[in-house]
Amino acid sequence: MAAISRDEVAHLARLARIEMTDAELDHLASEMDLILESVSRVQGVAGADIPPTSHAIAMQNVMRPDVVVPSLTPEEALSGAPAREEDRFKVPQILGEE
């Protein structure tokens, strides 16, 4: 039985904002099946008493003082923009905007 369906892959692609052709979805669904089978080995290895590790080196309370440092110039900030209008990033129409 497949661990993941083609429709599920299509849903993931939508969440990840990647357009995919039918052929790509089919191919990825079969690959994902194999990969998931392999990585699901992690399930049940550690008991409920084992805490998860999110950071390899445990530290806490790392903060900076509330001090202003110089920003980029608008020229630098916009230097990589695919499109701009004066000092703003120009992007295609955003759906759902008020």
Binding site: L15, Q60, N61, V62, D66, V69, S71, A77, P92
Partner: protein
């Protein structure tokens, strides 16, 4: 026929919950050192971090943590011994990383409450609004939509992005469902936001300007048939930009939902936008599927473990609660409820207090700030406090009390100070506004007035006191209005044997 509010309330019971977002007034952003000035030119307050440039990393602003803890303490919350940031993953062009760094299941403050009092048919009643959580997150950039919705050329629309606001620290304060508000849900909502705003202002953690978006309220409203014991599907109304709008939005949403249910339609769980002009809410774009934010602990940031001793210190240093402070001031000043409310609503309570502290009489301080100064500020569309300092108003009031200025002259002094002519003293000097209080100088003018109108003087001598008005007027005219009319009257009547 459409139901009105009262009719809706006969059939349905409303349920209320509120989410308030507060922009902290830190100097720098939440995760980078960019400035947070409101109204700066586009993209002048951005850096690799808040633009989400590849390779950049966040570092938490210590002041933002402190402010969040103080907010939690002021709202009677517990400060959690361990809290963390997580990533809330969703795509939106005004969010540079396409995830929002936010607290999720491990917020910094939990389980608080705020009591608010509202007037009900049965008199004042206290409602306890329970706070579920207070957590930290970052603001998004601002987008500007270009191209009209009507008569548009296909494809001519686009959006423009300014990331100055992206990364400004936000604190989100989430209430539990507020029980038992019934028909007072709109008033409770308003009173809660107003009280919260006063608390935040007293803490000095935010500008709390709803119109500038530094305090934003989302109102969650649902209704259910009376006595059903169920909860209806809720809507979330955003874009509520004033205290009045909070009340209107909740009221409008209750009416809308009731009418939908009456018409046999169902309520959709959705985001709605409040329309300031109509007082109605409008549907946001409904989502094709439920969002899946795929939260996970932010690997680029470390947990916050607030030192209990530090938390105690912050707690001990909290300012007096605004409700208690208001009560104390009102008693000390002997001001009626209505005038007190006027000062609070005009956001001039602090200013009046400062003016009183500088020696001004409370009633006078209130009337100068809410009267003349507010009128001039209104004309110029600015804040009263930007025009004149409390110390200057206090000085003017003291001069009036000492008889050195009349109310009329004082208005000219205020005008002079606002025009940048200097301190009250120097305005008085430059404009020559000194009250003529020297008795001998006044006597010269009085004798001249009597000489000019001996018949009138005789009538006064004969006991016709009201006739003195003409002589007083002549003296005032002769002194260019700088004499104290009461003083003139006293001297004149005495001189004519009527004192």
């Amino acid at each position: 026929m459409a139901l009105n509010y009262d009719q809706a309330l006969e059939i349905y019971e409303p349920t209320l919950g509120l989410e308030v977002h507060v922009e902290l007034n830190t100097n720098s952003k939440m995760f980078c050192g960019c400035a947070t000035e409101f109204g700066a030119s586009p993209n002048t307050q951005t850096c690799p971090v808040c633009l989400g440039l590849p390779g950049s990393l966040p570092v938490v602003n210590a002041k933002a943590i402190e402010s969040s803890i103080r907010i939690g303490l002021a709202l009677n919350c517990s400060i959690t011994p361990f809290s963390r940031f997580a990533r809330k993953n969703y795509f939106y062009p005004d969010m540079p990383k396409n995830f929002q760094t936010s607290q999720y299941d491990e917020p910094i403050c939990v389980n608080g409450y705020l009591d608010v009092t509202i007037d009900t048919d049965e008199g004042p009643k206290v409602y306890r609004v329970e706070i579920e959580r207070v957590h930290m997150e970052e603001d998004t950039g601002k987008s500007l939509h270009v191209g009209g919705a009507t008569g548009r050329i296909h494809g001519a629309e686009h959006s423009l992005l300014d990331y100055n606001r992206a990364g400004i620290p936000l604190v989100e304060i989430v209430t539990r469902i507020v029980p038992g508000t019934d028909k007072y849900a709109p008033e409770v909502a308003r009173a809660y936001v107003a009280e919260l705003r006063d608390i935040l202002r007293s803490l000095g953690v935010s500008d709390v300007k709803m119109e500038q978006g530094s305090l934003r309220c989302d109102a969650n409203v649902s209704i259910a048939p009376r006595g059903s014991g169920t909860l209806g599907t809720r809507s979330e109304t955003k874009n509520v930009n004033s205290l009045r709008s909070v009340e209107r939005a909740v009221r409008g949403e209750i009416v809308r939902q009731a009418n939908r249910l009456q018409a046999g339609e169902r309520i959709i769980q959705e985001t709605r936008h409040f329309q300031e002009e109509s007082g109605e809410t409008r549907s946001g774009r409904s989502k094709e599927q439920a969002e899946d934010y795929r939260y996970f602990p932010e690997p680029d940031l470390l947990p916050i473990v607030a030192d209990p001793a530090w938390v105690e210190e912050l707690k001990a240093a909290l300012p007096e609660k605004p409700s208690i402070r208001r009560k104390k001031l009102q008693e000390a000043w002997g001001v009626p409820d209505k005038e007190m409310a006027a000062m609070v609503n005009a956001e001039l309570l602090d200013t009046v207090e400062e003016t009183v502290a500088l020696g001004a009489e409370p009633t006078k301080a209130r009337s100068w700030w809410l009267g003349e100064v507010s009128r001039l500020a209104n004309e110029k569309s600015v804040e009263p406090t930007s025009l004149i300092k409390p110390s200057e108003v206090a000085e003017i009031i003291t001069l009036i009390a000492a008889g050195e200025l009349t109310d009329k002259l004082a208005r000219q002094v205020v005008e002079g100070v606002i025009n940048g002519e200097g301190t009250p003293r120097s305005v008085i000097e430059k404009r020559g506004l000194k009250v003529v209080s020297d008795d001998s100088a006044l006597m010269v003018a009085i004798e001249a007035a009597i000489a000019a109108a001996p018949d009138v003087a005789d009538r006064v001598r004969g006991g016709n006191i009201p006739a003195a008005g003409a002589l007083i007027g002549a003296v005032m005219k002769a002194t260019g209005g700088q004499a104290d009319a009461a003083k003139v009257r006293e001297l004149l009547l005495k001189h004519l044997g009527q004192g």
